[in-house]
Symmetry: C2
Subunit: 427 residues, 2 copies
Amino acid sequence: MQRVKIAILGIGNVGTGVWKILTMNKEQVSARSGYDIEVAKVLVRDKKKKRNVEVPEEVLTDSFDDIINDDSIKIVVELMGGVDPAKNYMLKAIKSGKHVVTANKFALATCGKELAEAAEEFGVKLNYEASVAGGIPIIHGITESLTANKILNIVGIINGTTNYILTKMTLNGMEFEDALKEAQQKGYAEADPTSDVEGYDAMYKIGILSSLSFGGYIDVDSIYREGITSINSIDIEYAKEFGYVIKLLAIAKQNDGLVELRVHPAMIPATHPLANVNDSFNAIFIKGNAVGDLMLYGRGAGDLPTGSAVVGDIIAILKNGLDKNVERNTFASCPLRIKDMEDTRCEYYIRVTASDTPGTLGAISNVFGGNGVSLASVIQKGKGDVNVPLVFVTHETLEKNINKSIKEIKAMESVVSVDNLIRVENI
Amino acid sequence: MQRVKIAILGIGNVGTGVWKILTMNKEQVSARSGYDIEVAKVLVRDKKKKRNVEVPEEVLTDSFDDIINDDSIKIVVELMGGVDPAKNYMLKAIKSGKHVVTANKFALATCGKELAEAAEEFGVKLNYEASVAGGIPIIHGITESLTANKILNIVGIINGTTNYILTKMTLNGMEFEDALKEAQQKGYAEADPTSDVEGYDAMYKIGILSSLSFGGYIDVDSIYREGITSINSIDIEYAKEFGYVIKLLAIAKQNDGLVELRVHPAMIPATHPLANVNDSFNAIFIKGNAVGDLMLYGRGAGDLPTGSAVVGDIIAILKNGLDKNVERNTFASCPLRIKDMEDTRCEYYIRVTASDTPGTLGAISNVFGGNGVSLASVIQKGKGDVNVPLVFVTHETLEKNINKSIKEIKAMESVVSVDNLIRVENI
Ligand SMILES: NC(=O)c1ccc[n+]([C@@H]2O[C@H](COP(=O)([O-])OP(=O)(O)OC[C@H]3O[C@@H](n4cnc5c(N)ncnc54)[C@H](OP(=O)(O)O)[C@@H]3O)[C@@H](O)[C@H]2O)c1
Ligand SMILES: NC(=O)c1ccc[n+]([C@@H]2O[C@H](COP(=O)([O-])OP(=O)(O)OC[C@H]3O[C@@H](n4cnc5c(N)ncnc54)[C@H](OP(=O)(O)O)[C@@H]3O)[C@@H](O)[C@H]2O)c1
């Protein structure tokens, strides 16, 4: 059996998973890859820190130079996270002729084009199955299995933290803050949960999937993004009454060369397969012009599921023979044309607090009508208080019509506040 | 752009789908494969038959010699079905150095080892993503994406015809015969539905998946197989009362080098994701020792979904360069050790018709107890008739204990008939 040396940058959550899989499935990994894999170096910040796996002292290093200067290391597995210094380490590895495997959605979504171009130039592979939806083979799915398809749209639940929180709010009636605290205690949310709950994580991931599906790069900051912090238990309740469940969706659609991209909470029919994707599970719905509807469901995070994808990527490099890996650049060189959010169409749920005076409901309805928004249902909740909640659900309409309506409604004397706006996706 | 010639054997359902995709997604297929693909020959039985796509007259042939003797044809796409002559045509193509793509589960399940060994020997690729679950990338999933995992078990709804029939019986209260007729009218079932409704089709597919997952070949006839013809609307009703849905499952489990393989209808919890896989959709649940639970859901049949997988396989051959495709034989050379069905463990639903006399229920329960079968519930349906239906649901027990019990129960004087036995899978 041939031997190959690899280096792992970072042995936190995912790094630990990779180490465990390389140990527990050693025989199978060798058989499938054709190589006996030796983890020659593991880069960390703090060599003294207690680890969950036993890494021999001589393998641990806090200097990237030990790795980049070692020509016997053929694959660099980047599992540190963040753009800086991860991106530079990956570029250096690529330029030294080392193949790169990474789980880093942040670096890929923001610098994927540069990394992929470098990999193509230097004839090495850049594999990143783990960067989106952990153990779910969505990157492979799009780039290999569905490659004969024009991808028409993608609708995904691709952030486990927010899905865990929304599940607790939906099934256990918890409030956002309590559900977040529980998620943190269970290790599903970070101490600083911003990236997850504000939708950045999902934004990076849908950015990567769009580049691969539609064949162009995008500026991720041009993706419309809303988190789940404004979702209230009252909205979850009302959603239930209408037969919906609230999920944080990442949506990408292509039509006439124009790509629609958005990350936001949405009400989806309680009967849709995505509605039953609970806890920290992820799922991605894809529609291709040949395959039709396809859904992939599984664990989007965690040491072993994510490690499963990383080790799969390592095997993919090895089994073709280390030297035969030049591949076309997937983050194609032209930018995608992104549709203006104002021009997107959706149905909307809008919750308003207004004074319980005759004519208020009618007046608000008129504002919608005046802006070309037709209403599917209007419900006044409660009765007799000075102020009452009003809930409107619209038929499909343009985002700009909604925005204009909301502006006008907010200015009405009888309106106390527009409390929430949640898109309704009748997928 | 380089050009490559391919031949298609058979242009029925799937062949038509492949032809359509190569036409409608031509530009993308070229970009992803690096080749301009020309379908140089299409083999049919009857050149005069009206086709759903316009195949130029000079492309149609009824002689395989036109294809095998043409050295400019580099890939043969077998979409005829059946073992004879499909298998021989594939072997001849392989031996002439042509790559082979096929959707033929029957030929693969029975002769996969021979075909794969020949492909390895002659340095060509044998791709067959379409052979299991149509457009769902399950073959790729197992052999590539999950390759770092030990697969622990697979539970699949992999026959669209039976799933369509069971869905109609469950949601619309239809009887088997009527649902089958409707399936035939809609093109979901063949005039002779035996292969589907008796579970042969699912048996071939789970055979292929097992070989790939567990790394050995199997004699498909050693797979335990039951169809859905004995499922009665009354069983569907009772299942509902217990919170279950009846699906035709294909199950493969591995434990201590022993593989458990079975195809049969089963009651599964109505809340399980597989319970909501309806109509002709397919879905496959896989548990890997790293990735955990994973589910793939989509269209398991139909011209375009199946064609999507076939064209994906063609692109996979081309994009690596036509000459670099030697790969390890996936239908490994050792046989898998199959567990005796008598030694498998399950929960069971058993429906009996017996005389409504005092003591009958107790006597039957005693037979179960005497054979080490513990009962989870016993229900007598109806009252006052001479004969009444009794329904037993057991706790997990050995198949052989059930078989012994059934034999004894059938021999009881107060028992008119044992009407049905359906396994209960609390997945
Ligand atoms: N967690 C998941 O389930 C998951 C799922 C999919 C993708 N990902 C991605 O996988 C990557 C890793 O995530 P993780 O959860 O495993 O992170 P983590 O637990 O925070 O671990 C990061 C590791 O990288 C090391 N590291 C960080 N910065 C470093 C630096 N400048 N120099 C040297 N070592 C450094 C850390 O060393 P010390 O231990 O010494 O501090 C630590 O071992 C991220 O890109 C993440 O987005 C994670
Ligand atoms: N249908 C699906 O959705 C589906 C899904 C997955 C996999 N598959 C598999 O795909 C394969 C094809 O299925 P299908 O539904 O497309 O079959 P089909 O509609 O019956 O078409 C078979 C085609 O093969 C030709 N053919 C059959 N025997 C031949 C022979 N001895 N010589 C020359 N031509 C011959 C027929 O020619 P004539 O037209 O002249 O008779 C016809 O064009 C099968 O292996 C099936 O199991 C099918």
